[in-house]
Symmetry: C2
Subunit: 182 residues, 2 copies
């Protein structure tokens, strides 16, 4: 059994890291806090005039590398491996890849350990990657083929309008991901 | 139809770039020239005492980015796309990813164009990626699942002992990759 796990906002706290940095750089400019978000893309959540400011933050050297962990994520994937599942981290880089790609590798090495670097898959089209499950916070995942995996939503406020997919978080994942629960 | 194409020694002339740099740095030390190679890994081809010198070159900043093109490769994948095939570049990074991963993206942007950056897939396990064909110079490609693609060897001296797989180069690929020739 192969489980693909997304990185940003599933294992790495992208949204939390961004929010903190936004508050530091622009304390006078209101943005929606992580738990109140209703749109997947930050740029869709914020006023148009903030777009460049958003991009400035996320492409800054060190931003990706310094993202905090989502609590429980690391423990969950370690446990999955102990249970005999084969876990891979499946993530899409930004179009501006200058710091992003290397820092995703660094993040995985620092937070998950050196062995996990070999389990990192970078692709803009996740439908091409085989697995039984893809745990991902993005509401809809499209690509050039019909994927073999079941998309299980990592529960976030901005994907709660999706009713037809199963969802989990790192507190209840064992109720969802189990060999008897497919 | 999805065609996965390897990067090093298929589109980018890794071996040629390495050989040139080796001659420059170590003109007194013989190594097997690219067209006489019999082993896939450089380190298996060379005396043990050269191993660290080999690594030094390939992890140098700028080495991957400055690799020349394999003649005909770019034209071949452009033509495949024109013929309606969906081409993705599927490549495995070094364990030492410091410069390698970003430079693979840069190489693709510089040599193939910005749109191709979205068609780059980085993975250490290519069996997980779906496609009809994988064009790759590595003699045997293993991973955690039985791949869906047919491995077509990109013809190199060090994979000629493999007889049971079809092979191609950028001069004759149209004879091998065709909708009528599966």
């Amino acid at each position: 059994m192969i489980i693909l796990v997304d990185l940003d906002d599933v294992l790495a706290d992208f949204d939390g890291g961004f929010y903190k940095e936004w508050k530091r750089r622009h304390p006078d400019k209101f943005i929606v806090p992580p738990d109140k978000r209703t749109k997947f893309y930050l740029r869709e959540e914020m006023p148009d005039e903030y777009k460049d400011l958003i991009t400035e933050i996320i492409i800054t050297e060190g931003f990706i590398e310094s993202l905090p962990e989502i609590e429980g994520g690391k423990q969950a994937i370690y446990q999955m491996e102990e249970m005999g599942y084969n876990v891979f981290i499946c993530t899409s880089p930004f179009r501006n890849y200058k710091y992003c790609v290397t820092e995703k590798y660094k993040w995985v090495e620092i937070h998950l350990g050196k062995d996990w670097v070999n389990k990192l898959i970078l692709t803009n089209d996740k439908t091409l990657v085989n697995g039984n499950y893809l745990i991902d916070d993005k509401p809809e995942i499209t690509g050039c083929v019909i994927p073999r995996w079941e998309h299980i939503l990592y529960d976030r406020s901005y994907n709660r309008h999706i009713k037809e997919k199963r969802r989990l978080n790192w507190n209840n994942w064992k109720e969802i991901i189990s060999p008897n629960n497919k």
